[in-house]
Subunit: 440 residues, 2 copies
């Protein structure tokens, strides 16, 4: 027996599990503030559902874990949360629209294990199904704004529309069958620079004058409105103009658009986006990859269901791992323990136990020594466990109806009544930099 994790999977001990929970609680709180309800779908799905033509596509299917049950049915582990949502919608045809749901859950990909790539990871998706208008896209962008503000991470939300990209390519005279591959190159503008993109487009045999035109059209400058006006003026494409109007309308629905950036080269890799594409980046962070991404996919659910009914949809997915990295880099103090207090009885377990209960009744997270250890070993344990305060309950303290509160970081000690101790400990509840809102 190899006492190891399955390859590509991770354990999250206290410190990491606490950080993950705090983050998912903030995201969940923000999703709910916007009126999105939770949906839970199972980890196991029928293989044929995930393998459907309009599901995740061939690449992802190669990485799908297959499972057989005792009835020899072919099952699998979900590779995302979108396809299961489509199945849920199909099974609930009388559902009232719009359907606004979020789901935070584990997904599985049997792919090569590289740095930062795991076989089990968490997706945090929020989607609205049933709304054609740009107010929905704006709401999704606002959720991303709100979430990063709540987390104290300054972010820029970049927006574009696939229709704008198609319009740019039409205007530049790129042929239809080259459009998808050209979009993949343009999307790399920020990563590989202007020259890199030109080189790639050249290798893909896009004509020179088309490349020049593409580079012009994607480099509109100035405010969002200035860029929109420039592009709308230059585009010779109905689809492009439609896209520009959508982007303009989208931005107009966002109350504070100061960190919203219309970026005509933004594409997102996935082929199923039909309109808006969104990516969030952290401002002034060494993390350069997107921390949240999504867009509008008006065809996917309808195609998947095959009933002819339309299900316009738009959503965004938050990258749990990358946001956790960013929080750590931003210096968010990680907690090794949920407890604020560790109670050390000195020959007074029952009194200490009753004090513990008073703290808990007041909402203070407090462990108590169960090992009957001496005070110095107990202090060592509390220190190594990362607990902020030791509460020493001994005969001496009890005589004065006091406990001894020891700040484990400073070593400072203070006699306090239980009520005083509660008020000191209560002020040590963790919060994010800007988390003065009740997102619970």
């Amino acid at each position: 027996m190899t006492l190891q994790n399955a390859p590509g999977t991770r354990d999250f001990p206290a410190e990491q599990a606490i950080a993950r929970q705090r983050l998912t609680n903030v995201l969940r709180g923000v999703f709910e503030l916007y009126g999105y309800n939770p949906l839970e779908t199972p980890v196991l799905e029928r293989f044929d559902v995930l393998a459907s033509k309009y599901a995740g596509g061939a690449e992802i299917l190669k990485e799908t874990f297959k499972v057989n049950d005792q009835g020899k049915r072919q099952l699998s582990l979900r590779y995302d949360l979108t396809v299961p949502m489509c199945r849920f919608i199909a099974m609930n045809p009388n559902m009232k629209l719009p359907f606004k749901r979020y789901q935070i859950g584990e997904v599985f990909r049997d792919g090569p294990i590289k740095l930062g790539r795991y076989r089990q990871f968490t997706q945090c998706d929020v989607d609205v199904v049933g709304v054609k208008g740009m107010s929905a896209d704006a709401e999704i962008a606002c959720i991303a704004q709100f979430a990063f503000a709540e987390l104290g991470l300054p972010a820029t939300i970049k927006l574009n529309s696939r229709k704008v990209l198609n319009g740019i390519l039409e205007t530049a005279g790129v042929r239809k069958e080259k459009m998808e591959t050209a979009i993949l190159s343009i999307d790399k503008l920020e990563k590989i620079g202007r020259n890199g993109v030109e080189k790639e487009l050249n290798e893909k045999r896009i004509p020179k004058q088309s490349i020049t035109r593409i580079m012009e059209l994607t480099s509109a400058t100035g405010t969002n409105q200035a860029r929109i006006d420039q592009l709308r003026f230059s585009l010779k494409s109905d689809q492009g103009i439609e896209g520009m109007n959508e982007v303009e309308s989208l931005i107009s629905f966002i109350p504070d658009s100061s960190n919203i950036e219309f970026s005509p080269s933004l594409a997102r890799g996935l082929a199923y986006y039909t309109g808006t594409v969104i990516e969030a980046f952290l401002t002034g962070s060494e993390i350069k990859s997107a921390v949240a991404a999504g867009g509008r996919y008006d065809k996917m659910i309808g195609n998947f269901l095959g009933t002819g009914k339309e299900y316009p949809a738009v959503g965004v997915s938050f990258g749990l791992d990358v946001i956790l990295d960013a929080l750590q880099i931003a210096g968010l103090r990680q907690k090794k323990a949920v407890s604020v207090a560790y109670i050390i009885p000195i020959k007074a377990f029952k009194e200490a136990s009753s004090i513990a209960q008073k703290l808990r009744n007041a909402g203070i997270k407090a462990g108590i020594d169960l090992m009957e250890r001496g005070i110095s070993r107990n202090l060592e344990y509390a220190a190594s466990a990362g607990i902020q305060y030791a509460v020493i309950v001994g005969e001496q303290e009890m005589k004065q109806a006091r406990v001894k509160l020891r700040n484990m970081q400073t070593g400072e000690e203070k006699l306090a009544t239980v009520e005083e101790a509660i008020s000191i400990l209560a002020s040590h509840t963790p919060s994010y930099p800007k988390s003065n809102k009740n997102t619970g």
Copy 2:
């Protein structure tokens, strides 16, 4: 393609997902109040870890879902949270003890699908590893007490020790090889009654006078202390006396033992328990099965690791599904939506949108119409979505710097400033009957 769930799995739409989240939040909150940290282990585990001799045993292994990865490694889906915790402890040999952790997670069993049996279900486990003394067992019992009090579900916590049961059987002259099977019958006392147990023991060829003695010893009456005294007086078994002392010590560590019941027939099916066994039952509920159960398993982790080091452990597992049923029966109002408010703009989307933002900044969960529907269709939608208040934002209301608040249940309408609306809506945050404590 069959657009269905994998057999034995369930979707949890908003109403159920909200109820599940509220329940797991309460449990999580209580576990943390006692200083237990979260641990997250993955869904996928190596098959040989789960198949280890000292893991879950042959019965459970038959029901283990097997998964192969692209590297042809045999993996599987975890069937419980205890074996992964053992693996985690093995991989972290320098871990400071006691190790107090909780985990709420999905587990998988490929068994026959019956009413109330699922192939994916949630376990909520809380365990302390490294403490021999009964203060740990008492803490685990207190966690169960606290959790059901917090949920507003009156419960009785039944306690016993395997040592007491063994002592009863020794005293009754049952041979060693018959003990395990006799225990399984005695455990059914409440379910099948005295006659039923006698009949089973008889079929198992336990001698008549032994059966009579067993029935005497398991039917001690009176207060916990009276039962303890009676049994201690009657038991002719060192192990039994040791067990009695442990039970007495355990109960003495519980500050309020009014709903603690020493029950000498309580056994719990699982063979790995070595001392204390615990089961929680709801008082005056139609739900007769245990809602939480656990006990002490001092050998399991050490055997599993095979290093000779001892890892005494005690824990309890809460039954999410059965507790949800109980909450529903107890009349807990289920919520169909997280939102308290649904904002209906009448030709005033931007004003309405800015009001929505003010509500959210104040922690009010509020959706807004994105479909530009008329007021009556919007009210229908809010009603069917189960949202308590509609907030109507129209030109008329805006002129008076007011919004119209409509209580969707009573139909009552009221003009209010945004600040007034916030304070009315804030008072509608859901809580459990007795949840005045901060367990967030």
